[in-house]
Symmetry: C2
Subunit: 265 residues, 2 copies
């Protein structure tokens, strides 16, 4: 259990104090946070709640969306929030194509430029910018970085403590180069997230994930690969699923722990 972390988005309707208490009661050492529910509870209040509970904040989701207006201010704020919450991992989702655009190369250059601009601020705050490639089904509308290779092409321009990558099993499992890219990533792996792939995908494809073990991803093989690459950090269970969200938070947490222990650890 020492590497298990519960991403709060997995039990979306569980209020933060209940999620924190639930993690403590279940012996879970870490929690992954999202900016919106943290802001709803209050940033400094959330930081104190979690610190007092003895939980590690394993990541903060998310910065990024560099192809939208206002990205600079929003991301500087996200870096500050990560520092305040005591996590060194700010997850970045790059953003998709601007409305009406077909220029995916241009959008990718914009992402790289934005990260270069943010890197000094992240370094100053002690926060790692963790670039998360999303599955190519999100290339148009959420994330123009679709593979671990692309994320590393950008990350490698910076100090590994300042810019790293997120390996999320759901987004990369299909890639025939993923094991080579995980080995290449090495110390740049800032976070490792798991859930499972099931079909059919729902409309909008965002909420179609499953708990670890309920789908077709070789989760243990991926965990062993990140370990072999030198990663020793937390394993975060992060599931977006209308079915999972309909269940009570504690039940979802217990199922996440069980899925992790049986299929990932």
């Amino acid at each position: 259990m020492e590497r298990f972390s519960f991403n709060q988005a997995t039990a979306r309707h569980w209020a933060l104090p209940e999620a924190v208490a639930g993690c403590v009661a279940a012996g879970v050492p870490g929690i992954g946070l999202w900016r919106e529910p943290v802001a709803g509870y209050g940033l400094t209040r959330a930081a104190k709640l979690i610190r007092d509970a003895g939980l590690d904040v394993t990541s903060l989701c998310r910065g990024g969306f560099f192809t939208a207006d206002g990205w600079r201010e929003k991301n500087l704020r996200a870096i500050e929030e990560a520092a305040t919450l005591g996590t060194s991992v700010l997850v970045l989702v790059s953003g998709g194509l601007p409305p009406g655009s077909r220029d995916i190369d241009g959008a990718r250059r914009q992402v790289a430029d934005a990260i270069a601009e943010l890197a000094p601020y992240a370094a100053g705050a002690g926060v790692t910018l963790a670039i998360e490639p999303l599955h190519p089904m999100f290339s148009a509308d959420r994330c123009v970085l679709s593979t671990l290779g692309q994320a590393l092409d950008i990350a490698e321009r910076f100090d590994p403590g300042v810019v790293g990558v997120v390996v999320d099993a759901y987004h990369v499992w299909w890639d025939d180069t993923v094991y080579a890219q995980i080995a290449r990533a090495g110390e740049r792996i800032a976070a490792f997230q798991v859930c499972d792939w099931v079909t059919p995908l729902p409309e909008g494809v965002l909420l179609g994930r499953a708990l670890p073990g309920d789908g077709c991803i070789e989760l243990r093989r991926l965990r062993e690969a990140v370990d072999a690459a030198g990663y020793t950090g937390p394993v975060e269970v992060e599931v977006f699923s209308a079915d999972v969200w309909a269940r009570p938070g504690r039940e979802v947490l217990d199922a996440s722990v069980a899925g992790y222990l049986h299929h990932v650890a």
Copy 2:
């Protein structure tokens, strides 16, 4: 117009004789066929209808599904059907993971082995096995080959006249290596298909495509890339869309031609 071809799946509810007559009336030189509607009309009857109309059959969809039982017989039959219809291009969709399996490497090996077994029969029939990588959102349930690079890794083991690849813009546009892989493909490009990417994706993600020009894919750039690689064959418009299917066949054909001329040619 000399390179334009209309894939019959774009106007799914248009009966074959009407589709053939519509293509002739519109000055369209080529048609892409699917096995099921051809079988419904009668194979030799369909072959005669299309030959008498003076249309080229630019491809037959589809063989493949090598991870399912009975793949050998089904694919030998598909090769024969392609030969009977007078097309040299049999599109292969590899198939996904067998039910309950997480062994994607094993499924990929099975695909390569199956193609090796079919290649002599295809060569004897004068048919090119055209491996089509599908978008990674289909990796689990339809096609474990997700990139042009993977398709070429298999195709390159064979004579280019016997095993080639399909470049379908919808499936490959997101790939940051796609232009390098198209250049690598060269004479192995057996077919080039276009439609467009729009969001949100519908449930099941199969019927979310759009007519050329209605989405975010750089279709002309991709067409120029396959041309630069040496491809001189047809450009097939192939759209699966509930919205497009609801429109009259002739209207869909005209919109396909217009989209091709304005955004691809």
